[in-house]
Amino acid sequence: MAVLLTENNKIIVQGITGKEGSFHTAQMLEYGTKLVGGVTPGKGGQESEHGLPIFNSVKDAVKETGADTTVIFVPPSFAADAVIEALNAGIKLAVCITEGIPVKDMAKIIPYVRNSDMKLIGPNCPGIISPGIGKIGIMPGFIHTPGKIGVISRSGTLTYEAVGQLSALGLGQSTCIGIGGDPIIGLPHLEAVKLMAEDPDTEGIVMIGEIGGTAEEEASVYIKQNVKKPVVGFIAGQTAPPGRRMGHAGAIISGGAGTAETKMKAMSDAGIYVCESPAEIGLKMKEALG
């Protein structure tokens, strides 16, 4: 089976009429994802080019469609507001794809998200895919195959790389979660690992981290104490110099913390199969499964 995204999610798209939102709505539908509508204020009552009903607000969409999941494509200056709109409307899972949200905006809303029963994935992430069931996000569906490996990652194309390696070796995926590359995200590594660890149909976990922050270290401590399934880890940015932001707002070594070295050591101490090379992720998982 899968975590977060199963056959039961009823999904809406916030920003469905925007360029990105519209394009990826078509892609999600093509993959077989169960979308029930979209939200664009001012266009309520109309139908999207994909034939989905458009609502003026998330509240209206939830009332009319029973939606419990949303994917957010709204521009950075409105994205934090869109997350809170979803929360207040009773959404249980929000996936925020938007890149470039100011840190202050996220810092202000995150306490509300943590105190609610809504899970937030992202922002600045590729989304979630449960191969064969559906995808909520922007990842290319066809590289994934249904299976038993859970993938957790802070980045987009690097996740595709890892998934490509797994699929090529015949290792399908239960769910892949792109948790996002920003300094503040809704669902950090640790929480994603817990979901995968508790999922009876996930047999192995791939955790792809990056320099910056200490989320991988925290997840490693949890894994050491609680996770019996094999975990394969990789940290991107082993060659990155301190103080320089490597694309993602969160990928920066500051104040001596967040180096690849300390993260890899924490993973290794936790019994995680650590890949030094990003080309080894699939092979290491195969080895770990025995």
Binding site: P102, V103, A107, E218, G237, R244, G247, S277, A279
Partner: protein, 387 residues
């Protein structure tokens, strides 16, 4: 975005935080007049570059007369200042800040930044001011006092008060420090800063609490709502190639290795740098061409990479997801026609229509090595530059 000390102090003034009297100049002959205007027997002449560690590198000096101020300004302006943050190549000093001297009683540290673990800002203070705070944090962590700030409430007066007494301050000094901390939070919050650091924060014999030095970094994602901030950007402080790349909306960071890389996506770009190292060489840059990777971005990417004279070979690593690889391959072929690529080129395309893309590349007549996967690509480019 980073700014200079004198610019950061201007911002502090806006929030009613006391900073030393002073003036900035690019012209050494102004220094004497500034000395006289400040009216203190001693003034401090401070090199204005973004990097820290200026004092140790000889960029901060005391002057006791009009002529000495001019001499020192002449010495510092135009000097190549090397600090632990500039790298061995150093940084040319274009201007100095000249400030009043003062009778310093104590030096403290105060800073605000994001605590990523809690997703909340944190204010940190220490009695160990004027020192490398990272070293203090490592060796004597108990000497750093922290208050987590609720982003929706802001730094509360009780927290500011707690911090000032925790530094051992009393009476009017404690009161001033409390207001100082509240102002510092306001500056951090209102200006969308990612870091505000006062090192040292000082108390003086004449009863003042002020920011002797100041560093402010801003959240790039929030610059759109601060019309006045982008003009504080000093392009001479940035790598010219990085400035050029930013014009094309390319995410480029210059490094010191031999292999230029062009990749789509930040995580994969970092991983590509890593695998080059793993294969026995080192990356010349980080370059994320973004999700689009069309002929234009690829052409500009090649131009930027090749402007770096250390580049001995180029590794293009694209994972085509939504964007089809055959389109990217055509982009690369077109770009290679427009740019004279005079070093070995290895291209690895994966994802949608990768096989078709490979054919396009192989039949293009352009000198390049097509790689099958990440490992193959890294080994081929490292092999090619070693031949």
């Amino acid at each position: 975005m980073k700014i200079h000390e004198y610019q950061a102090k201007e911002i502090l003034r806006k929030y009613k935080i006391t900073v030393p009297n002073g003036e900035v100049t690019e012209n050494p002959s102004d220094a004497g007049a500034i000395y006289n205007k400040l009216g203190t027997p001693v003034v401090v002449v401070k090199a204005q570059i973004h990097a820290g560690g200026r004092g140790k590198g000889g960029g901060v000096k005391l002057a006791k007369s009009e002529t000495e101020a001019e001499e020192l300004a002449k010495q510092i302006i135009g000097m190549n200042l090397v600090t632990h943050q500039t790298g061995p190549e150093g940084k040319e000093v274009l201007r100095v800040l000249i400030e009043e001297g003062m009778d310093i009683k104590h030096e403290f540290y105060a800073g605000i930044t994001l605590d990523r673990k809690q997703s909340k800002p944190v204010m940190m203070v220490s009695t160990e001011g004027g020192m490398d705070i990272e070293e203090v944090a490592e060796k004597t962590p108990d000497k750093i006092i922290k208050e987590t700030i609720d982003p929706n409430l802001g730094l509360l007066p009780n927290q500011a008060s707690y911090l000032s007494y925790a530094l051992g301050l009393e009476g009017d000094y404690a009161k001033q420090a409390r207001n100082f901390f509240l102002g510092l939070w306001k500056a951090y919050d209102n200006e969308d800063a990612s870091l505000v650091e006062i090192n040292p924060l000082v108390t003086t014999g004449d009863g003042r609490v002020l920011a002797l030095d100041c560093k402010i970094d801003f959240d790039d994602n929030a610059l759109y709502r601060h019309a006045d901030l982008p003009e504080l950007r000093d392009l001479t402080e940035e790598d010219p190639l990085e400035v050029e790349a930013s014009k094309y909306h390319l995410n480029y960071v210059r490094l010191d290795g031999a292999i230029g890389c062009m990749v789509n996506g930040a995580g994969l770009a970092m991983a590509t740098m890593d695998i080059i190292k793993y294969a026995g060489s080192s990356p010349a840059n980080f370059l994320d061409v973004g999700g689009g990777a069309n002929p234009e971005t690829v052409t500009n990417g090649f131009k930027i990479i090749l402007s770096d004279k250390n580049v001995k070979g180029i590794f293009v690593n694209i994972f085509g997801g939504i964007v089809r690889c055959d389109r990217i391959a055509n982009g690369i072929v077109e770009a290679a026609k427009n740019v004279d690529i005079n070093v070995p080129l290895v291209v690895r395309l994966a994802g949608t229509n990768a096989e078709l893309a490979k054919e396009i590349l192989e039949n293009s007549g352009i000198q390049m090595i097509v790689a099958n996967d990440l490992k193959d690509g890294a080994e081929k480019i490292v092999g090619a530059i070693n031949n």
